[in-house]
């Protein structure tokens, strides 16, 4: 086979390649859109999960807003302190220390703890289950356990165990996607330092709560009396702790008859 056609083809294509290469180089130099070099840095510093916790559609939009000075630098919760420090340095602002938050499940209604209302056989999503006669368990405030939150979590921080969602505190970045997804609003963002939590949020009368679940808050107010710091109060049939006043002494945990207050290690 003669070498000429091959050389010709290679020459033409190679020539075209060089030509277009030059054209593109010229175009990119001439028509270049000036990008704030800080944008690239900011985009690299944020977590990059596109979770939307900052309130912007994705990391790109947030980075742009930060560079333009429209957004605060402490909105990227998944990035944590590392991102905050980096952004502070890039933007020349001071990084204010913010309390690290974490998602907590305000329910201990595992299988066997909360009484079932009926046997649910429909689609395995919390949203559908809740729509059917107030949900398959007697408690209308607790975790349904079909894992709508697990499906939206971008950080692999949640799993369903024994009919209730369990959050891995180390993996959780407090992005808040699960909080928005939960049809019962049973997941709340709380300061990570608040190690004493009331893991119940029922608003039923004490008797109803007792009938429905063995670990429900029955509004007995023993914790209120035990607390010396005025940090825990029964509001709307359920105890609530004010993290600002709580000293983690654990007196309320000791007196709670239903063990609905929990002290984490």
């Amino acid at each position: 086979m003669p070498i000429t056609p091959i050389a010709l083809a290679a020459g033409v294509l190679g020539g075209l390649g060089v030509l277009f290469g030059l054209l593109l180089t010229f175009a990119s130099k001439t028509f270049a859109v000036p990008v704030d070099e800080r944008f690239v840095l900011v985009r690299e510093a944020v977590a990059g999960a596109n979770c939307g916790a900052c309130g912007y559609p994705g990391c790109d939009s947030y980075a742009q807003a930060v560079v333009k000075g429209e957004a605060a630098i402490d909105l990227c919760t998944p990035g944590g302190k590392k991102t905050l420090d980096a952004l502070a340095q890039i933007m020349g602002q001071e990084a204010k220390e913010t309390a690290v938050q974490v998602a907590r499940v305000l329910c201990q209604g595992e299988t066997g703890v909360v009484k079932p209302r009926y046997e649910y056989t429909g689609p395995k999503t919390c949203h559908t289950a809740v729509g059917l006669a107030g949900g398959p368990s007697m408690c209308r405030w607790g975790c349904v356990g079909y894992g709508d939150c697990v499906r939206v979590c971008r950080f692999n921080a949640m799993k369903i165990e024994n009919g209730i969602v369990v959050i891995d505190e180390d993996a959780c970045t407090a992005c808040g996607l699960c909080v928005k997804e939960c049809p019962r609003s049973v997941i709340k963002l709380l300061p990570k330092a608040a190690r004493v939590t009331v893991r119940c949020q029922n608003a039923a009368t004490p008797r109803e709560a007792r009938d429905a679940c063995t670990k429900a808050c029955i509004a007995c107010k023993r914790c209120e009396k035990a607390c010396q710091f005025d940090a825990i109060h029964v509001v709307n049939n359920c105890a609530i702790i004010d993290p600002a006043k709580c000293t983690l002494c654990g007196e309320c945990v000791k007196v709670c008859p239903t063990k609905c207050i929990e002290q984490l290690a």
């Binding site: 689609p123 107030g134 499906r151």
Partner: protein, 438 residues
């Protein structure tokens, strides 16, 4: 000519849509020992109870007054003593306040205020009379009828359609009502037409009920502007938008209401209630409900509002096998009841008991892209694509693909060979889109 629409399915065709057992069973009255009447049967804010524990109430007495713009009053469906007002979990998402009344079996009526014959009653007072009678759509949605009868001024209605299609599986209540009281239904249509100032009224019936067509045609002889339309038997022929398209060839616009194309649709049961409210002054205290499925004596019962499902099932001879699921409504669009203690509401057109082997939810398998759901969808959507989008959590994308047009008829789920949970997914997506304003 038989009217119909594009798409749709023929559920349980080999067993006559499941209607064989209760078809042509004469309507029997059930007088319950006690009733527990929920306050939020209708769409709109729950009514506020205006009686107290220990009061003696008369049949048809107002026991709860309307709250808000589209509320309706609730009436006592038996005479007797109010034994309690309690909060109970019914089929709804939220628990509802219920008024419990023990029946003294005297059926002593509260004073009635009839307007006069349906042809002679003052037309401008009919809508108020309908509201005072606590009438709401009895086909299943329970939308207050007086609101439907007062469309906005810029959307004049020229046609009233009475929906007697009863395409839903298992149910025969409307069929039996049309057979036994065709005159009352036609009277109700005339009252609605006069109240709304409309000259054209059509009673739509599927062609599996030709005896009802004959009865209604006879009853409608010589009545002004009333005609009967025969529809092809197909599910969901009774869907509001499908019915309008089949009969008038008008398409309700996306996101619109029937009044956008000049039509108002009412259930035949609603029409009968309107007729009784206008000519006799009787409020809505009972309705015809089919109790069928795995019961010993499938029947069409006239149930007082607030009767428990258990009492209805007992009247139908009790369950014939261990029940797996009990549906409020037919098996396609009905809602599974959490227990048989729940009350019959104004919208409850059926109590269907399924045995344990029939109530099994099949395990879904992956989609094979056969396209059956696309040809079955009466709203002309692509359920397969919508399911993909919803599963990915892309609700905005699903909305762009018109998931909001889904009428949740479950035709797609019925035909799906992979047994995918299509229509529950769309229901969930619609609720989320509405709640989050996506």
């Amino acid at each position: 000519m038989k009217f119909s629409f594009k798409g749709g399915i023929h559920p349980l065709k080999e067993m006559h849509e499941g209607k064989g057992a209760s078809r042509h069973q004469p309507i029997r009255d059930l007088v319950p020992e006690t009733v527990s009447i929920p306050m939020d049967m209708h769409i709109g804010a729950p009514s506020a109870p205006c009686v107290q524990k220990g009061d003696r109430v008369l049949l048809g007495q107002v026991i709860a007054t309307p709250v808000g713009g589209i509320g309706i009053p609730v009436h006592a469906s038996v005479s007797g003593e109010v034994t309690g007002i309690e909060v109970r979990q019914l089929l709804n998402k939220q628990p509802s306040t219920c008024i419990n009344i023990t029946n003294d079996k005297l059926d002593e009526w509260a004073p009635l205020h009839p307007l006069g014959g349906v042809e002679t009653a003052p037309a401008d007072r009919i809508i108020q009379q309908v509201k005072d009678a606590g009438i709401c759509g009895m086909g299943g949605a329970c939308f207050p009828t007086h609101i439907k009868m007062s469309p906005p001024a810029d959307k004049p209605v020229d046609t009233v359609i009475l929906n007697g299609a009863e395409c839903e599986t298992f149910l025969t209540a409307d069929h039996q009502l049309l057979l036994e009281q065709p005159g009352l239904v036609v009277d109700g249509l005339r009252a609605i037409m006069r109240g709304m100032g409309v000259t054209r009224g059509i009673i739509a019936i599927e062609d599996n009920k030709m005896d009802a067509v004959k009865a209604v045609r006879e009853a409608a002889q010589g009545r002004e502007g009333v005609s009967v339309a025969v529809l092809r038997t197909k599910y969901p022929q009774g869907g509001e938008k499908q019915l309008i398209e089949a009969i008038t060839k008008r398409q309700v616009p996306s996101g619109g209401l029937p009044c956008d194309v000049g039509v108002a649709v009412f259930n035949v049961g609603t029409a009968a209630a309107v007729a009784e409210a206008v000519s006799l002054g009787k409020p809505l205290i009972s309705r015809v409900t089919t109790v069928t499925g795995a019961v010993n004596k499938p029947s069409n019962l006239r149930l007082r509002i607030g009767t428990s499902f258990q009492a209805a099932i007992d009247e139908a001879g009790g369950t014939s096998e261990e029940p797996g699921k009990v549906f409020a409504g037919g098996s396609m669009t009905g809602i599974a009841a959490p227990n048989t203690g729940v009350s019959v509401t104004k919208a409850n057109n059926g109590v269907v008991v399924l045995g344990q082997k029939d109530a099994v939810t099949p395990e879904p398998t992956p989609c094979i892209r056969c396209g059956r759901c696309v040809s079955a969808c009466p709203a002309k959507l692509n359920p397969q694509r919508l399911k993909e989008l919803c599963d990915m959590g892309n609700l905005a994308g699903a909305k762009k693909e018109h998931v909001m047009e889904c009428i949740i008829c479950a035709s797609c789920s019925y035909v799906c060979p992979a047994k995918l949970e299509l229509s529950p997914t769309f229901k969930e997506a619609k609720e989320k889109i509405t709640a989050r304003r996506i």
